[in-house]
Symmetry: C2
Subunit: 441 residues, 2 copies
């Protein structure tokens, strides 16, 4: 039986999980691939550090060239993350004729064009199941299972850190800062959580989902994003009382006019399936022409869930090498035989969106103030569906909660902009979009 | 490019959906398979009936032999359902060297052994993605995506009719009979709904899930099942007040002692992801060693969702024929090269199960009666976690609601059996199991 040599860049949590799965499932993998997979070398920072995994014959090295220039290595598994030096390593691997498996969503979302072009020219694979919702076969299902279908929309909880924080705030009534600290202590948030909590990580994943589902390439920087840092316990409590939970959603939808992409906190009815996604779990609701609605749910990160995704990609690439799979298969849309690249598109401007909204206006308890705000909304065509306010307590500011009808984004934006110039507001108005009723069964 | 001839048995809803998908996605399918798929003939009862689908070159016939004896046909798609004559047709197709795709869960659950043995001997495929949760790639994901993992448990809503009825009862407070009638009017229940509402259909699906996930064959008749016919609005309302919804679940779990399989109504916390599965949707929560918990959700039936599943199987079988896939792939566990068959096992007896329970005891409003029931539970070791009773209204019977601790099934059964001999009960005691807290995040 022939042997396929593999080089792994990075031996953190995911790298360790990947090596362990490759070893534990050696026989099953051999049967599926028709070849033996041999991890030849692993790039690490410190070769003397004790490791939690049996390395077998794999050599630890600190020199990228030991992997990238080894002509026997056919598959490079990139697990170091970040843009640099990951990009250089991946490009160098491709130029040396090696297939690439990576879980690096930032790299592919930001620099994917060059990487996929390089791969396509040389007929090489770049697979990235582990980059989105590691614990579910989401990308694979979008590509393969739905091959005879057309995907119209995706609504996902794709950032485990944000979901963990919002879920903790919902369960315990905690403030954002305290929930973040708890998430950090539990290992669900980084020391610097910025990219997770500001929506950037979700935007990267959304760009990759749009690539796989719609066959279009989008600059993740052009995706509208709002983080979870502005959510406060009053919003969570009000949502709860009205039958909603607040989730940070990444939403993609295509229409005749183009592709709409956005990441923002959203009020989701408690009875909706996405409301049942707790802690650091990920989920993605897919709407497609033939299947209707389907959902994939699982752990979004972690050594073993992401390791399973990476190993499934390694198996698929190895099957390309042994001829048990063809390029038309899984990579069809990313590696078109013609060498054609996915079309680059700009997402539709957000102001074309229509949705219902939750607004919470904070004003001093004075006559005429609420009326002035309501009149402002009316002037901009923002119809009010329901509105209520708790009984004022002495001179404390009051919070007026408004649910709007489905109105154009630009109307809400204009009303909020005008209202922000009022000298009467105690603090800026909170605004959370409400899940599109079309997404609700 | 070579052509692969296909024969389809049955042109009902799923058959029509299948033909339409094969036609609409012809080019994409050709690229994936490396051959042209040609539906040569379709078995129907009445060839003169007007059809909703363009038949292309497909010939309608009323004679099974036109398909089963046509040496050019390489794939037979069985969509007539039921045991007979489907079984004869499938066996005859296999004996003639044809691969089989079917969505017939009853056939495979009841007669699978003979069918799979016949296929295995001849190196033929029998694929059945459409038989369970048609609208999700559940079986495919269990087989392939989890190839480097070990599945420990499945908890599924796999019968859309039962779920539709319980969901309607929850939303509207309707009685079972009225919800069933509404389901029939909406097309979500058959005129004779017995197999759906008594748990038999779910037991068939559970047997197939156990085959694919655990590699064991179980007689579906040996699977403990309880239907939804005994659920009444009081149970639904009490569940709601205590933060639960009632769902009919199919549960499979393996342990060192064996495989436990059961279908019964279950109290699910409202915040659990399975509580968000409404209407006729299906969902299956999978617990596996490496991935942890993952969930697949989608339409369980319908022409297009099931058609997508059938077409994905047809593509896979066609790729076997063109050499683009190998038997070690998808069918690995069902078509072992060795010709070995999955082990036949008996499910563990239910009385080894431990779970929490909801009991509702209906008794006349008389002193001492409740005490007698509580004492009976105590005698059998059924510990009470919480208990409450509404204020009695005059002489009307009262309903005492009891939540038990996690206790052995045999203790509950013994207590309920003894209690049923009491002459004081106004009507039989309701009993609903509570979702295993291990299944709850």
């Amino acid at each position: 039986m022939r042997t396929i040599a593999i080089g792994v860049l990075g031996l953190g949590n995911v790298g360790t999980g990947t090596l362990q799965l490759l070893r534990d499932n050696r026989d099953a993998i051999e049967a599926r691939v028709g070849a033996r997979l041999d991890v030849r070398a692993v790039l690490v920072r410190d070769p003397n550090k004790p490791r939690d995994v049996e390395l077998g014959g794999a050599r630890l090295t600190t020199r990228p060239a030991d992997i990238l220039d080894d002509p026997e290595i056919e598959i490079v598994v990139e697990l170091i993350g970040g843009l640099d030096p990951a990009r250089d390593h991946v490009l160098r691997a491709l130029r040396a004729g090696k297939h690439v498996v990576t879980a690096n969503k930032a790299l592919l979302a930001e620099r994917g064009e060059q990487i996929f072009a390089e791969a396509s020219q040389r007929g090489l694979a770049v697979f990235f199941e582990g980059s989105v919702a590691g614990g579910t076969p989401l990308l694979r299902s979008l590509r393969e299972g739905l091959a005879s279908d057309r995907i119209e929309a995706l609504t996902g909880i794709v950032n485990g850190t944000s979901n963990y924080i919002l879920d903790a705030m919902t369960r315990t009534g905690a403030r954002y800062e305290d929930a973040l600290r708890a998430a950090q202590e539990a290992g669900y948030a980084e020391a610097d959580p910025t990219l997770d909590v500001d929506g950037s990580d979700a935007a990267h994943k959304l760009a990759l989902l749009a690539l796989v589902s719609f066959g279009v390439r989008v600059d993740p920087g052009a995706i509208h994003r709002e983080g979870v840092t502005g959510i406060d316990p009053f919003d969570i409590k009000t949502a709860d009382e009205l039958g909603y939970v607040i989730k940070s959603l990444a939403i993609a939808r295509r229409s005749a006019r183009g592709v709409s992409l956005r990441v923002h906190p959203t009020m989701v009815p408690k009875t909706h399936v996405l409301a049942g996604v707790h802690g650091s779990y990920n989920a993605c609701l897919v709407e497609s022409r033939a299947l209707g609605r389907s959902l994939y749910y699982g752990r979004g990160a972690g050594p073993m869930p992401t390791g399973v995704a990476v190993v499934s990609d390694v198996i698929e690439v190895a099957r390309l090498i042994t001829g048990r799979a063809s390029h038309e298969d899984a990579g069809a849309r990313l590696l078109p035989k013609s060498g054609a690249q996915p079309e680059r598109v700009d997402p539709l401007p957000l102001d074309e969106l229509e949705c219902e909204n939750y607004l919470c206006i904070h004003v001093p308890n004075q006559p005429g103030v609420l009326g002035r705000c309501a009149a402002c909304l009316g002037r901009h065509g923002v119809s009010i569906k329901r509105m209520f306010q708790e009984a004022p307590r002495g001179d404390a500011p009051v919070s007026m909660v408004i649910f709007t009808e489905s109105v154009p984004e630009r109307s809400v934006a204009a009303a909020l902009a005008e209202m922000s110039t009022f000298d009467i507001l105690s603090r800026p108005t909170d605004r959370i979009r409400i899940l599109d009723p079309d997404t609700i069964d």
